[in-house]
């Protein structure tokens, strides 16, 4: 009997993130392939009402710890998140349930926790997985390395494994399960003490209400071909027309035209949207490293030999100043339909 599979379902302000559905769904698939039991764990507020939405992704047993109760273990006040306390809560819960596989999403929270959980549960850890397979009850994972220029298939002999899944890659599978048992986990059973709150998040500053490029399913990125910061309005309008996020090349971030949070590439964000539209971007290897795993890449560039066309699924050789407004209009027609 293999150990249980634990899916950590990330939530924010009482709502599960989309990536939580991906993780629960993938964990449910692994559980059925290996004949093991799936348990879902979350730390948050108002979990009881929300938990039901996880049933259709295969969750039958849902456990949660109330965030406010967890935080009350600290003498500090008014904080939002403590990495050590979260890591310990997940780890100790996993141990108490005999979970041997832990899945989280490779979000900024998940990546922050994965290494800590691996040390606490004595498991082998792989961040940012893009594929998971089970063979003879054993899990193998694939993950991009060298900023996506290569992919490795990896396995481990260790009997415990912690995996974080790159958001947007695993598509949640909706099944017909609608029964879910909800269990509240008593904070006292998790062994958390004031010492686990040596670092705490006091405040979250939202840089914009815009969708973050790392989380978006559609991205429109602009590069030096846009000629100046004022012309990024065209990028924003195109992104708005398809409900996507805006991205940028490093050249325009370094020039101060766009914030660093939008930079896609080796020293920016790695993204895997369904649609990536690169406008006035040459396609330097460091840029490609961040977006080559997009499902569909569209390039718009006036230079027919620009390297971006080599990885594009579709492209138009032409001037962004002409094409972008036309494209925005065309998208508006079909998307509103």
């Amino acid at each position: 009997m293999p150990g249980k599979i634990l899916a950590f379902a990330e939530s924010k302000e009482g709502k599960f993130k989309n990536s939580a559905f991906e993780v629960v769904s993938e964990a449910s698939k692994i559980a059925s392939e290996t004949g093991s039991e799936l348990i879902v764990f979350a730390i948050g507020t108002v979990m009881e009402q929300e938990a039901k939405v996880l049933a259709k992704y295969g969750a039958v047993n849902f456990y949660y710890t109330d965030l406010n109760e967890l935080n009350s273990k600290s003498a500090k006040q008014n904080f939002i998140y403590s990495p050590s306390a979260f890591a310990k809560a997940v780890s100790n819960f996993a141990k108490s349930m005999n979970a041997s596989t832990i899945l989280l999403s490779a979000t900024s929270l998940g990546k922050d926790l994965a290494g800590r959980i691996a040390i606490q549960t004595d498991s082998t850890v792989f961040n940012d997985c893009v594929d998971i397979k089970t063979e003879g009850g054993k899990i193998t994972a694939s993950r991009p390395v060298f900023a996506g220029k290569s992919i490795v298939d990896i396995r481990t002999d260790s009997d415990k494994i912690t995996l974080s899944l790159r958001p947007n890659v695993f598509k949640p599978h909706v099944g017909d399960n609608d029964k879910i048992e909800i269990h509240k986990v008593d904070v006292d059973s998790l062994g958390i003490s004031d010492a686990d709150f040596s670092s705490v998040v006091k405040e979250v500053v939202v840089s914009s209400e815009k969708l973050d490029v790392a989380e978006a399913d559609r991205i429109v990125s602009g590069g030096r071909g846009l000629r100046g910061p004022e012309n990024f309005k065209m990028i924003e309008e195109l992104a708005a027309a398809i409900g996507g996020a805006t991205g940028a090349s490093r050249a325009v971030v370094d020039a101060g035209w766009r914030p660093h949070s939008e930079q896609v590439g080796q020293t920016g964000k790695t993204v895997s949207p369904s649609l990536y539209i690169a406008c006035g971007i040459s396609g330097a290897i460091q840029h490609l490293a961040g977006m080559s795993s997009a499902k569909c890449i569209v390039a718009i560039n006036k230079d027919k030999d620009a390297p971006i066309f080599q990885i594009a699924n579709y492209g138009i050789v032409g001037d962004v100043f002409e094409i972008l407004p036309a494209l925005t209009e065309e998208f508006k027609k079909v998307v509103s339909k």
């Binding site: 994965a114 290569s150 027919k304 066309f309």
Partner: protein, 249 residues
């Protein structure tokens, strides 16, 4: 202030990856190696902390002999000391790296241990948090701003769509992200000075590798795309294809 910065050596970011015949690693012939770009941010931050608070900066690297190059780069930027933990061979994983680093670090009583947020070879994003757990110290990963005042740390950590303001006690482990500072270029004087700085070499304390790469491959190649050349006139056809063929809209 006792400041330690952990540095690693990685293939240059312009490297075109070729897979070795074993299909388990990259073909390193012709590849040039550099200090991990994120580690330059960590070294720069270490030097600024020293300039402000006094103390010394030690650069530490675990790996095979060529890892010493990363320490030399830290010397050129201005690090005072270098410690090289020699791995018996290149067969190690994130855990053994974290374990060897923390075995060394635990006797050092540093006030702050800086890392890059991620190495650009295996993109593990693990060592800072693993080391912090092994040392039982707080860790702030992906830091874009760091302030230390009277033994208290206030840092900004980058997250999706914004940043977290994190407060912490010292000693602390930090993972440096682009934006935290602008790394300095070594000048001739510091490059000369670096040549005479000795690197202390110590043996590894732990060996083991629980991770097996069964295959390394290139990402699936895209079948050659449909590239149009009539500019604006192709826009409606492009949108049609995105809807009907690619089905992404």
């Amino acid at each position: 202030m006792k400041i330690i910065v952990c540095v690693s050596l990685v293939p240059d970011s312009t490297t075109k990856v070729k897979i070795a015949d074993t299909k388990k690693s990259i073909d390193e012939s012709g590849v040039s190696f550099i200090i991990n770009p994120y580690d330059e941010f960590a070294v720069e931050e270490a030097l600024r902390l020293k300039e402000k608070n006094g103390g010394e900066v030690t650069a530490v690297s675990y790996g095979t002999d060529k890892s010493k190059e990363a320490i030399k780069k830290a010397f050129q930027m201005g690090a005072d000391k270098g410690v090289f933990i020699k791995a018996a061979d290149s067969n190690y994983d994130s855990f053994s790296t974290a374990k060897n680093l923390s075995d060394y670090l635990k006797s050092q009583n540093a006030d702050i241990i800086l890392f890059g947020k991620q190495s650009i070879d295996f993109d593990g994003m693990l060592i800072p948090s693993m080391v912090s757990e092994l040392l039982n110290l707080p860790c702030i990963s992906v830091v874009v701003k760091l302030d230390i005042e009277n033994g208290k740390v206030i840092a900004e950590r980058e997250i999706e769509g914004g940043k977290e303001i994190v407060e912490s006690s010292m000693p602390i482990v930090i993972g440096a992200q682009k934006g935290i500072n602008e790394p300095r270029y070594p000048n001739l004087k510091s490059i000369m000075a670096a040549k005479s700085k000795p690197i202390e070499e110590i043996p590894q304390t732990y060996s083991g590798n629980k991770v097996e790469i069964t295959e390394m491959k290139l990402p699936p190649t895209k079948s050659s795309g449909k590239i149009f050349t009539n500019g604006k006139d192709d826009v409606s056809e492009l949108v049609r294809l995105l809807r009907e063929e690619a089905k992404v809209i």
